[in-house]
Subunit: 202 residues, 2 copies
């Protein structure tokens, strides 16, 4: 039987200590969580075509490198009329070619232009969050949370991050960028993924 | 907590009923196991670059398509001097371009030629078996078993299948093709993967 006992030490497969703290909070503070970057672990190449594949790959790399149970996530926006793009490349689409800096405005404009190019009125899209927990030389457990919705251009709202300003969840009128953070956090793909992870391992 | 209770119905993500029976036996006959092909499920495209990624993808596709807990495997041979090739393409390397028929002799010759081309005496290689169990709309558990060894040309032995005639496990002199089936089954990558899966979920 697989479970995560309270007090378990967890390595978050990220180089961002803020993200590691956020993951610790989303796991109800039950675990001592440290960022892989703090331990000096290298980030593996994300070779996979699916969110789950990349989450599994990152969690395994961290667990195998430091011998501790690890947790990784992989998230992104998929647009139906673009065959699911940008998908696992959501972060890459937001990197400027010139200097590699993050520019999500550019990425949102790129999606809008791609939709115009395929001459569609289908603006269906969804956010996905995959989470993976890996035991060193042992099993990996992964889950996926999703929220369906549609794209709305131009973007609206200053909350959230990434593609939030252009995403309207099913049954709503406000974009994720307009929602109060606690509202978005209650319904988001990440919330759904963490709920599934807890149902599986708590 | 995640576990597989005895008597659980399992769909094996394969179109080969013989393989489904073999999986049932490797799980100690604890589960009622049916092949996905028998249920008329389509085989998903194996898009991932890792064995675990493809096992997860196949298990999820089967579980989501039929609403039953599913099990999938992905296996292959990796050659160190070829950067891990053929790896997840092990089956593809054994397909004849002309008619798509399976021809493992051709694949073994292709590996031997590739090693000659890179002018190496490094014949280190390993077999990997990834297994994934997926719950419909729920978590996926995956494990990986590996056996290290080296390649020996020309191939020897008529037992086993696939690349077995050219693979000699660490500490042995006989190829997998020369080993008695019960001997190979006790030490193989598949045996190790199933042992890990049972340790995790039984």
């Amino acid at each position: 039987m697989l479970s995560l006992p309270p007090g378990q030490r967890l390595v978050a497969a990220t180089h961002n200590p803020g993200k590691a703290r956020e993951i610790a909070a989303l796991l109800d503070g039950r675990f001592e969580t440290v960022a892989a970057g703090v331990l000096g672990l290298a980030e593996p190449e994300e070779t996979e075509a699916t969110f789950m594949g990349n989450a599994v790959l990152k969690a395994r790399a961290a667990a195998d490198a430091c011998g501790l149970v690890s947790i990784a996530d992989d998230s992104g926006l998929s647009v139906r009329a673009l065959g699911g793009q940008p998908g696992v490349l959501s972060a890459r689409w937001a990197e400027r070619e010139t200097d590699g800096q993050r520019d999500v405005g550019m990425a949102m404009a790129r999606i809008e232009a791609a939709l115009k190019a395929v001459e569609t009125t289908d603006h269906a899209a969804w956010f996905t969050c995959a989470l993976a927990v890996a035991w060193p030389d042992g099993p990996v457990v992964c889950v996926e949370g999703r929220i369906e919705g549609r794209l709305a251009f131009p973007g609206r709202g200053l909350n959230g991050f990434g593609y939030d300003p252009v995403f309207v969840a099913e049954g709503m009128n406000q974009t994720f960028g307009e929602l109060a953070p606690e509202h978005k956090d209650a319904i988001s793909h990440r919330a759904r993924a963490f709920a599934k992870l807890k149902a599986a391992l708590f």
